[in-house]
């Protein structure tokens, strides 16, 4: 029965709304200026373009969710992916909606402000503290800069804050029926945070830590029945551990579903992976015969992607009789690995017992353990190895195309096929799918790409050797192109090799295989450690020793820098120190049985420490141990935790430590002065945050508060 009048009562926290509006205003106003590529937009932009074109790529810097969110913004704004991201400062064309590219990160950045407000409330501090925290975040120049462009940090911070907020909501409402929804949301946001940047893992681990501590207390609570404890533990484990993992995989599922065309990063992946992409390799390999048989013509690709992917190759040139360092060689035909498609990459698989080089009918497939010979298609030399030191890696055996010089050096050209993934695939040699090791029968050495390039006499191609007893990945080969040979005569065969291969069939590998391969490649692809002009070391972040110039107008002095608000930066670190001191004193006194704080307040104080100081620690300390190139923006998540901490600590001081009203009033005054200072320094650095108005060289000079800051002046 519907009852009238239908009344809806809502309570609106006006302060919260106001702060949110301000946040949106600071983050979203004039979003499309500067109308040029700013800093790392040049990096992420290319991925957005590739999403628009559905072209596959690998980005080793992080998982794909953040890229996909930015791509979503671009998609909604109608970006077609046709822009060359080659240089910071390049102007965007008028057809491109810059606003839409930058919108989602900016919105997330703006939402962080109300989130911090709510989070402080969930930590059981007052609305005034909540206001303080959100104002600190609101007026933090570095966060504003980082949110206003197509960058990932604001997304990361947003998801981390959502995760903690919803977890605390879950924890603070023991009897609500929605509480597991909050926990689920928390797990989901953790997955999103990790999906945006690997750095999210640190916050996720902290959350798992806090959750397991609470669960441990739950286990110790003997007023609850065993059954209920079990159910709760399982629910928590599902929400906090299982759901995030599944979601994380889901991001990759989306990523791989979206990107189905082949592109520039194909070569890093295995042949099977490449064949699953549209265009590229699949165009060549479609419809090839699956079973490698005697008489098959094949190209053999090394599965090592270091230094670059390449194919087993030979050509009409011999090893020099003497190398530069005086060692001798067999002077037989060179066998190398060549990173480009070439007719000299074709080899024919020959049965050692028979003469013919064509496929019989029916074809006789090669199986694991068979002994074969490999004949080079163009020169008809046999793949050979012997106890002669290889040119660049003298501890390994040389591999050559055998030439009989009549110097009592017999041919040793028998190779045993060793299919290393025969359990997963099959006993017989399959195109693309089988990973094969070629074991030299006479010496039991294995054909291997050494990874060193040959000098000029070898045309700078990569060295191939045979090595005994090593288990590296670099000695597995796969058949990539394949067809059944039909021509017995050498001349015909050469013509045949020159003609392209193709017939049509579809071949798929499972999503899990693709996911695992992609994830593994992303984690292991080596980043070049090069020092960037604006890179910095973690210890410099605390004192904000360096800044990062994001953009400089092409003709004027207008510029954007990543510089934090120095006043709030200082306040944050002082409060961090103060909390640690205070916590140490409290702990020692409690241990001696002197309880300064009532239990409720103590629990609140400890919880503040777990979230804020813990959050700062896990987002800062790991960087001290990392060897990659680091930038100031890596510190922003840690900084957000500190901005949460300062107002809460002030409130603690106000209510617990100061008893006299004069002291309290003095503290209030200090806080007011501090806030004014924060605002003033925010105003001062605004020109460097928004890029307008343009400042004169003298004004810029005045903004250079630290000698080590790099502010650019244009010479006129």
């Amino acid at each position: 029965m519907l009852q009238f009048p239908l009344v809806v009562t809502t309570q609106v926290d006006v302060v919260l709304v106001l702060v949110s509006l301000l946040a949106f205003w600071t983050r979203l106003s004039r979003l499309s200026s500067p109308n040029a590529v700013v800093f790392d937009e040049v990096y992420y932009g290319q991925f957005v373009s590739l999403y628009m074109k559905r072209v596959f790529f690998i980005d080793d810097s992080g998982p794909p969710l953040g890229h996909m969110i930015m791509a979503l913004g671009a998609y909604l704004g109608g970006f077609d992916g046709n822009f060359v991201w080659n240089r910071i400062g390049a102007e965007y064309p008028s057809s491109l909606s810059v606003w839409s590219l930058r919108l989602l990160p900016a919105v997330c950045g703006a939402l962080c402000v109300p989130l911090v407000y709510l989070l402080t409330l969930e930590l059981k501090f007052s609305h005034l503290s909540a206001l303080g925290a959100s104002v600190l975040l609101l007026l933090e120049n570095s966060l504003i800069v980082q949110s206003r462009f197509m960058l990932l940090e604001s997304l990361l911070i947003f998801f981390v804050l959502v995760a903690f907020l919803s977890y605390l909501k879950f924890h603070n409402q023991p009897n609500s029926c929605f509480r597991f929804c909050w926990l689920l949301l928390s797990g989901g946001s953790c997955a999103a945070a990790v999906g945006v940047k690997y750095m999210g893992v640190f916050s996720y681990l902290l959350l798992v830590g806090v959750a397991s501590l609470h669960t441990w207390n739950l286990i110790g609570d003997r007023t609850i029945s065993h059954l209920s404890v079990c159910v709760q533990c399982v629910c928590r484990a599902v929400c906090v551990l299982v759901v995030p993992v599944l979601l994380y995989v889901f991001w990759f599922y989306l990523h791989l579903t979206l990107l189905h065309r082949s592109g520039p990063h194909d070569q890093l992946m295995s042949s099977a992976f490449q064949a699953s992409l549209e265009g590229g390799l699949s165009r060549i390999t479609q419809g090839q015969p699956l079973d490698v048989s005697y008489g098959s013509q094949v190209t053999l690709r090394s599965s090592a992607s270091q230094p670059i992917p390449c194919w087993l190759h030979s050509h009409k040139a011999n090893y020099p009789i003497r190398y530069e360092n005086g060692r001798g060689s067999s002077h037989q035909q060179q066998v190398t690995c060549y990173p480009f498609k070439d007719v000299n990459n074709w080899w024919i698989i020959k049965d050692a017992g028979r003469q013919q080089l064509v496929v019989s009918s029916p074809p006789r497939p090669v199986r694991h353990g068979d002994v074969i010979q490999l004949v080079h298609g163009m020169t008809s030399r046999f793949l050979n190895s012997h106890d002669v030191a290889a040119p660049m890696s003298p501890h390994s055996q040389e591999v050559s195309g055998y030439i009989d010089f009549n110097v009592s050096m017999a041919a040793q050209n028998l190779w045993r096929v060793d299919i290393s993934n025969r359990e997963a695939e099959s006993e017989s040699w399959k195109t693309i799918l089988s990973e094969v090791r070629l074991v030299h029968v006479n010496t039991s050495a294995v054909l291997k790409l050494s990874g060193v390039s040959l000098p000029d006499w070898g045309f700078r191609q990569l060295e191939v050797v045979a090595e005994k007893q090593s288990k590296a990945h670099s000695l597995v080969w796969t058949v990539e192109e394949h067809r059944y040979g039909t021509s017995q005569e050498q001349k015909e065969r050469e013509a045949e090799l020159h003609s392209p291969t193709h017939i049509d069939v579809d071949r798929k590998i499972s999503f899990w295989a693709k996911f695992l391969e992609l994830q593994w490649k992303m984690l292991t692809v080596k980043q070049e450690d090069s020092e960037h002009k604006y890179s910095s070391s973690p210890l410099e972040w605390i004192t904000m020793e360096t800044n990062i110039a994001y953009w400089l107008h092409s003709s004027t002095n207008a510029q954007i820098h990543l510089i934090g608000n120095p006043v709030s930066w200082g306040v944050a670190h002082i409060s961090l120190l103060a909390y640690q001191l205070l916590a140490a004193i409290y702990l020692l006194r409690r241990r001696r049985g002197l309880k300064d704080l009532p239990d409720g307040v103590w629990a609140q104080f400890v919880c503040l420490g777990y979230v804020c100081v813990g959050g700062w620690l896990v987002n800062f300390v790991p960087f001290l141990l990392m060897e990659k190139t680091l930038f100031l923006y890596h510190y922003l998540p840690a900084l957000c935790y500190l901005h949460l901490l300062s107002p809460a600590l002030l409130e603690h001081t106000h209510t617990q430590l100061l008893s006299r009203s004069t002291h309290r009033r003095a503290l209030g005054l200090c806080v007011c002065v501090g806030l004014v200072c924060v605002y003033l320094s925010y105003r001062t650095f605004c020109p460097l945050t928004y890029g307008t108005p343009e400042l004169s060289a003298n004004q810029l000079q005045a903004l250079k508060w630290r000698d080590s800051w790099d502010i650019l002046y244009r010479r006129r």
Binding site: W216, I219, G220, R222, H226, V229, S393, G451, V452, Q469, K471, S530, E531, H532, K533, L588, R590, R591, R592, G593, L625, E627
Partner: protein
Amino acid sequence: MTQSTTTRDTSTLRNRRTGPTSSREALQALEDSQAAGLSPEDDTQSSNGTSHHLSAGGHVSRDPQSGGVVLMLVAGLSFATRLYRITEPPHVCWDETHFGKMGSYYINRTFFFDVHPPLGKMLIGLAGYMTGYDGSFPFAKPGDKYEHHNYWGMRGLCAVLGSFLPIFAYLIVLNLSRSYTAALITATLVICDTGCITISQYILLDPILLFFIMAAVLSMVNFSLQRFRPFTSSWWLWLILTGVNLAGALGVKFVGLFVVLLVGLNTVWDLWRLLGDLSLSLVEITKHFLARIVGLILVPLFLYVTIFAVHFVVLNKSGPGDGFYSSAFQSRLIGNNLHNASMPEYLAYGSIITVKNLRIAGGYLHSHWHLYPEGVGARQQQVTAYLHKDYNNVWLVHRPDNNASQPGTADLVRHGDIIRLEHKETTRNLHGHLHEAPLTKKHFQVTGYGINGTGDTNDLWQVEVCGGRKGDLVKVLRSKVRFLHRATGCVLYSSGKTLPKWGWEQVEVTCSPYLKETPSSQWNIEDHVNPKWPNISLSVLKPHFLEILLESHIVMIRGNSGLKPKDNEMNSKPWHWPIDYQGLRFSGVNDTEYRVYLLGNPVVWWMNLASLGLYPIMVAVASIALQRGFSLGQKRKEHSLVLQREGGLLLLGWLLHYAPFYTMGRVLYFHHYFPAMLFSSMLTGITFDVLLKSTDLLLRPPYSDWLRRLGLLVLLLSVLYSFYLFHPLSYGMTGPLAHEPGSAMAGQKWMDSWEF
């Protein structure tokens, strides 16, 4: 069901019983406090004050007589296994080439540089000296025959120290868990481990390091057993011994820091416990605190410094390590060209000089016939900083104009003068320009440019004496000099970063636009040859001992972090170690040679691995049971507590000695795992012991006992048998390699990655 009720009955009975305090009673009180669900900060009734006079040793169930016999057995076996065939092979094995050589340096008193602190090598040198080795063997490379040289003393010292490891492990586990079974399992594992045997038998630092680590842990454990009678003589003894052994461990290798950390954490925990004991007054707690500061910080620090003092006193002759140190340091060494140096006092035009950076381990300004590679600034000749003395470090001082060779104008260089530095070997000028430096991108590149001293205006540098005024003379050795680039205003700077392979792993030299005065931008003139000026004897200020100490530490740390893995070299990864993935060839490769291969006994190591997996599960189960307040029997509670506390300590030890290697950038070897392996073996002892004692969860009493004994027997016999199988790895093999049928190790190459 019946069992659980009886247990509860006995436990209530015990609670009601009153009588003389015993340690069991104390334990019970602890458990009760846990059972009541109190957080540890509230458990103040635990009996650790002076009021209780207990002997924890009384808890051991069997009589001390048989304990002594077992200990003697362990000692005998471990000495026998370690000392057996100690002189085989009679040639230099693996790193003996380094540490044997360094032992000889001590005997010859020549100065050298090594990345490890000196105690281990001093002991080796001492052992050699005592047993009649005269320090004349060159230890040039592995495989060199010792011939008539007396090397058994040095190996013997290592083997004797290594023989203490099983004994210490036995005692540690016994004192921790108060269980002979656990101790016996541990001792068997360590005795039968071929890896421990091999690493103890040669002239290496590892047996010495392991000895001190284990001794420190043992003293720590014994010290905590004394906690019921603080400030007695045995309490002091073990405290001081802990400190002494810590100093020893740290004095051998910096890996000793991990055991320092372990002891430190344990001590903090101990103090925290004492602080929570409200029966102790603050004065007493302060006494405890101060005692630990003295025993665990001051004593080790003093000993550690003493080790270095001895090191510097003993090594007083110039040797191969000179170039790593500052000019002042070198002047101490007899035979060095700076010892009682005699050279022209003031820098003059036309002089031949070497220039040394003032940063510690800064190196000499260096250039050589190699260009910067493409893509790294301009393709001109490299200028680097080099730590060794070399003819390529020599430079000529010229006037800016090219007529420096004017006769008779051998003028002195003054503060503010413009000079040109010409590299003597390649006749190129020191040159700077506005290209990015190779590594420090904010700085400018420095190159060698021009030919026969002809260059351009970018070759001009202004000399400034730090703290000097215009016109001041430049004192050789004593003045701190800066070189300001005339054209760009930057200052010659050594960044301390190691160049990649193209730069021969020498140190980068740049021109820094930041003019801050740091040692990196300050240089001094070290060698100075100028025939036109008289040589004057210079007594360089002798450095203070603490300065030498600091300097040698920084040099060692730099050296350590400079040990980067080479590109093509097979590199051992930390995850290889616990699974015994790959060993190290100590001696011999071919089938004709005498081969020794450092590899852990796979049965022992895989058992350790299994227990590392088993332990967390058992602890989790035990902790949940305790936290949830299930009624466990008295014995089971005891086992749970042993797992939690003592097992936790050993796990922490394992973690501390293993996990940090994952973050290290330096080149790693298999033998780095041995300290962690000992902790892991002790943990295995405790884990398997508790596991065997928990057989009564499965079967009823008489059968469970049989199962327990059977399990123990199988465990010990399998370890012994595996030792029999793998002993040739340590004691040497000849004949065909393992993959051939005729070999002694045929069929035992269980993993393809093993290379014997």
